[in-house]
Structure formats: C-alpha cells, structure tokens
Symmetry: C2
Subunit: 238 residues, 2 copies
C-alpha cells in the first residue's frame, strides 16, 4: 500500500458516497474495498457489503491504507479501482481543458459538466491527472459518468472532431458569452479553456469564435471552474 501515483494503474475513492457511486456505476473495475476498523455497521456499511458480494469484490479490513491515503478523520471506506479510458463522442458537445493544473479544480469542473449535461471532456497535455483521488473526490463521483480523454495537442484533437463550432474562452476576446447563441453554425460545439494561471495563448484567437465572460477590472480573472461553469450554464439554456 503506497501513496497514490499518476503512473499506477489503479486509483482510490475515499469515503462512503464515492465508493457507493463507483460500485454502482463501474463495479467491474473495482480491485478491492478497504474498511476501517471503526466503520460503523449501519446502512452504508450494509449496502457496500451487499454490492461487493454481488460483484465478487474482496473486502479488506485494514487501517494502514487510510493513514496513507486520507488526511480526513471521517473516512472509513476506500475502494481501489483500475483506471479506465473513454472514447469521445463525435456527435456530442465537448469541453476542452488545455493544460489544467489543479486536481481539485478538475473535479469541480467534472461535477459542473455533468450538471449541465456535457459528458465529453478533452484534456490537452500537459494536464493534471483526472484519476488523482483529490480530483475524484471533488468531482463527487461525476468522473464515473463522463468520457474523458487526453490528447497531446489541441490540433490533434481538433482534426479528429471536425466539423464543429470552437469557442475558446479568452480575456482578449470581443464577443460576450451571452451572444454565443447567435454564433452557433454546426450541430455541435466545443468550449475551450486554458490553464488556471496563464489562460489560452494568443494562437487561440484564430480558433473558431473567441468568447469573453465580462467581469469588472477589480479582479484579474475568474477562478477556472467558475468560468467553465458560467459558460456551461449559458450555453445549456435552450
């Protein structure tokens, strides 16, 4: 039992809610489930035992894994599962994250994306690992309902999914978010966001129709998950 590493082929759900979500959506991927010795034999305990029995998943009672993986005191169950790859649906709208760097942010973005029914997420490398337990935790389990795929460059992604509308979000853009609806030409679109600190570079000014979310000049920029979620909210209006 070691610390989580990006190179590992397994990751972990920390806590009851995430573990139940995993067992319900992707039971085949679960390697084993760990119970803390203080895990109370109540409803959640019984449900997890039942789901594990159904899918022939081994339960190990050991506190060591909790000390290594979880800094929170109230974590009593952890599932170890095999990471998975997903294919991106060409006939769907996409969210494209170029070089995202924060695990917690990525999780929050996944939760919002599922909330606004964008279920295909593309990450352009270098990008943070979506299977980091922090990212899984802040996704609140949304990760198990999404298609997520990494590409080595934006062009590599773009070429495979034409034709579609591309909307890069940039502070240098002129078109306001609320005017995005009149710019839709194709059946599907991709919303594109840059890194937390640096945003998208200027080359994206030549990609599709750049969009800006207007805010006062009292702040430098909106937090990335906030900007993504505001965009998702606006485009998902019928």
């Amino acid at each position: 039992m070691a610390l989580y590493k990006k190179e590992n082929n397994t990751s972990y759900t920390l806590g009851i809610t995430l573990t139940i979500e995993l067992l319900k959506t992707k039971p085949n991927l679960v390697k084993q489930v760990y119970f803390h010795s203080n895990f109370e034999k109540k409803e959640a305990y019984e449900l997890i035992v039942k789901l594990c029995q159904q899918h022939h998943i081994n339960i190990v009672t050991s506190n060591k894994v909790f000390n290594v993986l979880s800094s929170k005191d109230n974590c009593y169950v952890i599932a170890e599962f095999f990471k998975f790859e997903s294919n991106i649906d060409n006939k769907a709208n996409h969210l494209v994250l170029v070089n995202p760097s924060d695990s917690g942010n990525l999780g929050t973005i996944m939760r919002s994306a599922l909330g606004f029914n964008i279920t295909n997420i593309i990450i352009i490398n270098p990008g943070v690992d979506c299977f980091n337990p922090k990212s899984i935790r802040s996704s609140m389990g949304a990760i198990f309902h999404l298609n997520i795929k990494y590409f080595d460059s934006f062009d590599e992604y773009k070429e495979q999914f034409l034709p579609r509308d591309f909307f890069p979000f940039m502070l240098k853009a002129n078109t306001k978010l609320e005017d995005i609806h009149s710019l839709k030409r194709e059946k599907n679109y991709s919303l594109i966001f840059g890194n937390e600190a640096t945003g998208l570079n200027d080359s994206f000014l030549n990609v599709g129709s750049p969009i800006i979310i207007k805010h006062t000049n009292k702040i430098d920029s909106l937090n990335l998950p906030i900007a993504v979620s505001i965009a998702l909210y606006e485009v998902s209006k019928k």
Copy 2:
C-alpha cells in the same frame, strides 16, 4: 507566533500578491510584515520594502512564522494585519450567505462577487471566518475591497435593509434563474444562498421569490461557489 485562530484580532496574508494588495488597499491595518530569509531581492521584494517604508511598517526577517502558517514551499512574505469590520450599504445589491462552512469556498465567492460588482456580503451565523488565511488566499485579495458583515439571524439582517427584493436560491424553487429579471420590483436585491451541505431550509420558500438554477439530475447539486457565481453572472447582465 502561534497558529491562526478565529478569536485573534489579527490575521495573515500569505504570499507576495496578497501582501502587496493589502499594503496598497489597507496599509493602516498592517501590524508587521515577515520576510523569509530566502526571499529574493527582486522586483516584488523592492516594492514591498518601499510600501512598508511609506507607511512606517516594521519588517521582520524570521522563518518561524512561515513554518507555522504556510504549508506551501513558495511563500516568502507574510503580512500580519488587524481584522476590520465593514458596514453594509443599504443602497446596494447584496449577497447573503447563510451558514457557509468552508473557508476556501468563501474566498472563491468573494472573488466572484467582486468580479460581478456585488461588494456587500452578509454572512448569517454560524458561518465560517472570512479572515481565515485560507479564505483570504482563495479570495485573491478581493476581501480587501468588500464590505462583509456577520448577522446572528436572517431576520435581523432583513429588517434592517427593507425594502428590497429577496431571491433565495433553493432546489425546491420553481422560478428558473434566467427568469429572475422580470421579478425585480425594488431598486436593490439580495441573493441568498444556504450552507454547502444542507442548502437553505424550507422557511426560505416564504422569503421573496425563490429561484432555482436548473441542472441535470445526474448530480445532487452544484458546488456552492459555482452556484453563487452563475447567479451573479446572470443578474449582472444589463
């Protein structure tokens, strides 16, 4: 030099950006500034020295405070400042947070509020301490530009600031966020949000016009700073 505590009358800005923002906006409140011995004598260093001289603020070089307050390796300057109270502007729009519990979330909300020009924030007790260094950090300095005041109950707040439109955000509401514009009657409004885990209780169904941000049923709810920011975005459209 002890750990930060809510009861203390001072708090701390961790890092260059926050410290400069504090020195520029509220220099009178700064008690002293700490430099780490590894703080490089570059542009930021010179600027902070200059600002401290201008305002007769003492600079102490000591690494102890950094070990106690900051878990990040790249923090080389900390300012200690006296907490301040603000008055809420009756002739402005308000953001009301009922029992918020997460410092990082509160900071992110402050940043968004300033970004959408809502500069009066009311927190209903029990609520997380806005001067927690975590909250200051995630506000990216927005806290120094906002009026923030705590009230012991929503009714105590409400009575002092009538008449205005109240919009409690609740999953049980029927009116969609995009329809909020037609509900505005008074000159000013208050957007009201509940706790991260529990939301607003049902009594708020009888307060003003309850509003819902529609999302798919694949998630339980949106993350609180996300929901607040989407609302701020929508209402701030002219």
